[in-house]
């Protein structure tokens, strides 16, 4: 049962990561690519690590995996925000829809 759940979590995590990477290639400009990268940084990481957690069981390894997950969830958005802010300061113009400006 746990193995099955673990399979599901790991595979769906991989799916998220793959789609995130595809989005990284497909999206037209920097800011939209950040949204795509966010998929892998949040849901992809959460699912893969949750799958590993199920395999680890209630050991100290679980605590380390929780630590990794928290670390990724804290630093991911911070790095993304810093990047966006730096790009705007550096003169990057986001691609915007015409009728929404």
């Amino acid at each position: 049962m746990i193995n099955f759940l673990s399979w599901v979590l790991l595979l769906s995590g991989c799916f998220c990561v793959l789609i995130s990477a595809i989005g990284l290639i497909r999206m037209p400009d920097l800011f939209t690519r950040m949204h795509a990268a966010g998929v892998g940084d949040t849901l992809g990481a959460i699912l893969v690590i949750a799958g590993l957690m199920l395999q680890a069981g209630p050991t100290l390894l679980l605590a380390k995996l929780v630590l990794i997950m928290f670390f990724l969830l804290f630093t991911g958005p911070t790095a993304c925000h810093a990047l966006a802010k730096a790009a705007l300061a550096g003169g990057e113009k986001p691609l915007l829809d015409d009728n929404n400006q």
């Binding site: 670390f71 804290f74 810093a82 802010k85």
Partner: protein, 163 residues
């Protein structure tokens, strides 16, 4: 980047954790991967993050340059001192077995001390390299860091000078 308060808050949150992890790696070298070198690198990474976010002047006010310059040779001295101590106690150079009455305890003690020396030196050397690199062009003739206001003015002028 102090104006950048997301980065500031997250950094304040993370630095103690990073240092704790570094010391965990330092002291668990004989149970898993890790040891002095890796721990030194992680400590240096935490200090570099501090300097990046809060500025070089703040960082060098917290971590004085002379402390770093003392730690570098101190680490090497500890390493060599353990070797010489084992020579004096009748073993080979860095032969840990003779350091305590029981060879296993001797091994533990010797590895702990040697790793401590390595960690100190690596952390201090990497931090010094970063401080020297980041302080390039912002020191007066005597090699002291320029005060904060002068530094900001200089960079502002330089940025304005560029198109």
């Amino acid at each position: 980047m102090t104006h950048h308060f997301i980065l500031r808050v997250i950094t304040k949150l993370l630095i103690p954790l990073i240092l704790l992890f570094a010391l965990y790696v330092q002291f668990h070298g004989d149970f898993g991967p890790g040891g002095g070198f890796q721990a030194g690198v992680i400590i240096a990474a935490a200090l570099v993050l501090y300097a990046l976010v809060f500025g070089l002047n703040t960082a060098s006010a917290v971590i004085k340059e002379w402390v770093l310059l003392v730690l570098i040779p101190l680490g090497v001295l500890i390493y060599a001192g353990v070797g010489v101590a084992s020579l004096l106690l009748g073993g080979n150079y860095l032969d840990y077995n003779v350091l305590a009455h029981d060879p296993v305890h001797g091994q533990h003690l010797g590895i702990l001390l040697v790793e401590l020396g390595v960690g100190m030196t690596v952390a201090a050397v990497l931090t010094t390299i970063f401080f020297a690199f980041a302080g390039r062009g912002h020191r007066d003739a005597n090699g002291n860091l320029l005060p904060h206001s002068a530094l900001s003015d200089e960079i502002r002028n330089r940025k304005d000078g560029q198109p």
